[in-house]
Point group: C2
Chain length 358, copies 2
């Protein structure tokens, strides 16, 4: 083990997280039952049965659901339909680097709002709102990537009030939401403000990323305009995998898979937190209650650049924390720890290697 | 039958064209053999085994292949990476309406070059080249949608020479190429000019459109830049369906499926051509040797607008031929006949209904 590289660079679920056998069975059953729909051209909104099922989960109608080939790509549709070049877009700092890339691709001026323990800083947000109202704010309100932080109900309520007052959209990216290992669910932004929120999620973290199956729930007219963009882009999303996932959900297999995943990930989270506590108490880090990541701020005097330079010699693969900040310098001491993909034993070892090169 | 509406509006394969049983088996077998790759995050280039297989078909390396969720979406990547707003883009007139939409979305000035029986008019093309060189020309050189016309070898050779002289890209969209019912294959643009051509194709017409599985073959550096665009858009294309298609190809099932499809479509093409000959000899139409479409020019004194207005009463569903022309007025007398989706008996009836409302 000492010789093997431990990879802390990517937030990939381990392959044992995939319910492979059930997915194979469900893929076959779906194609046997509905081949002429799943193999034919379909609507850009996605597979009707799965839309209906997803709508039920969110208490909305199927016409409020659009399915796509990953929620990331759905976000690219949102950036292309909702943003004009030069528009402002707010994100948490830190936030998901790929989302920031898409905002910039659409010509947005991306403004990072510092993330606190209970969500972004409303003080900074209000300052920025006075400087210029964004077209949208992009949040990962449950177990943020890369920090693991969850936005409190209080801040959600205040954010919704600000969105209404200043007239901007809240895009809430919630792929980790179902993976809560501790504590209680906080109401979604969508439930707090159905007319002002686009709620995105995906099956990458709860089933398998290779499916590339994401969706967005929101107001009917927004969903319709995203569907129009989608039809011009690819006619419709890939269907057989939608059939597979619908069959999986229809059979009621998702809840027990979530329990299995929680049993897999909770010990990994706990091992990470206790390894940090025991070995690196001079640093500070987030205390997530779910998701895939712990966000670590290196002790004073260290930089992620130095750490990256020495990671190889210590047998670690790390990602550059600066990549998660719209203003990279703010991430000079930031390291994302994707505990999802590392066993408790390996994490213990990984943190001790980290300590060695600090 | 007389009462039933006959749909000539969309080029969808009939469901009996899908090799459903084999696809189900192959999907299952692929996931059993390679679950940890097909269910995990993958590269934006697509599934390595399928890239290799596709490369072999085209005599190129796997690094010259990018797989995507439909060739249409790959074309959207091409328009976004290759075109700046204001750039010119040439298309056949008529051409695939969705491709033209994507060119316009990217800000291109779309110029239609009239299609003749053996490909586009080189005289008009050279005129337009002198007015301004395009970033690319988009062609459906085998059994064009909506005309069914195939570009002759002579014109292909001349086009390649012009592309080299004037320095523009040829994007050749070839989803119908394998569906040749009569005559001989013409060499692909890719084989004539490997450094200057992006060859797109898909499995929609030879297996099933619901798979949304397309690809592009071209120079390594272009494929790499498309892959970079793709990774920022959706990380990677949907994997389990790529596994399914690879398994299908690996087992050698494609050639016999193509024979089955040719047996299905040739009588439909023949019925269409003879119904036109027998019932509508005052019109003119293309004589395709493959693909899905016959292009019909209505007799003098008729317009597609009048025809559309009366289609319902005759029990026909038609598409607006003007939609296939970058300058819609050029399609005032144009009707696309998608013979692929209509039985010989229904086509006989459809043409007689058409005659009734002319």
């Amino acid at each position: 083990m000492a010789g093997q590289i431990i990879d802390l660079s990517r937030g990939m679920p381990p392959v044992k997280a995939f319910p492979t056998g059930d997915l194979i069975q469900c893929g076959e059953a779906a194609l046997r039952r509905d081949p002429n729909v799943l193999l034919q051209y379909g609507r850009s909104h996605g597979y009707a049965h799965l839309r209906e099922w997803l709508g039920q989960q969110h208490g909305v109608g199927p016409d409020q659901i659009l399915i796509g080939n990953s929620s990331l790509e759905i976000f690219s549709f949102i950036t292309q339909t909702e943003l004009k070049p030069g528009d402002r877009a707010f994100v948490e700092a830190p936030s998901y680097d790929r989302a920031v890339t898409l905002l910039r691709r659409a010509g947005a001026e991306v403004v990072g709002i510092p993330l606190e323990e209970d969500g972004l800083s409303l003080m900074v947000l209000e300052d920025e709102l006075r400087k210029g109202v964004p077209a949208l704010i992009y949040l990962i309100s449950d177990f943020n990537n890369p920090m693991g932080v969850t936005t409190s109900l209080e801040k959600r309520t205040q954010l919704v009030a600000l969105a209404e007052e200043y007239d901007f959209w809240i895009v809430d990216d919630a792929p980790y939401r179902a993976l809560r290992y501790l504590g209680q669910d906080v109401p979604t932004f969508l439930s707090l403000s159905p007319t002002r929120v686009l709620h995105m999620s995906s099956f990458s973290k709860v089933l398998a990323p290779g499916l590339r199956l994401g969706y967005v729930a929101g107001p009917t007219d927004k969903i319709a305009s995203l569907a129009e963009w989608a039809v011009d882009t690819y006619i419709g999303p890939v269907l057989p995998t939608q059939g597979m996932v619908y069959e999986y959900c229809r059979r009621g297999l998702l809840p027990s898979n979530l329990e299995r995943l929680k049993d897999l990930y909770l010990p990994r989270l706990q091992a990470t937190l206790s390894a940090l506590e025991n070995q690196l108490s001079q640093a500070s880090w987030s205390k997530p209650e779910g998701g895939f990541y712990v966000g670590l701020t290196l002790p004073q005097g260290n930089t992620i650049a130095n750490l990256l330079a020495r990671a190889g010699e210590a047998g670690l693969k790390l990602s550059d924390g600066r990549g998660f900040f719209s203003s990279p310098v703010d991430g000079n001491r930031f390291l994302r720890i994707p505990f999802c993909s590392v066993t408790p034993e390996d994490m213990e070892e990984a943190i001790s290697r980290l300590v060695r090169i600090l």
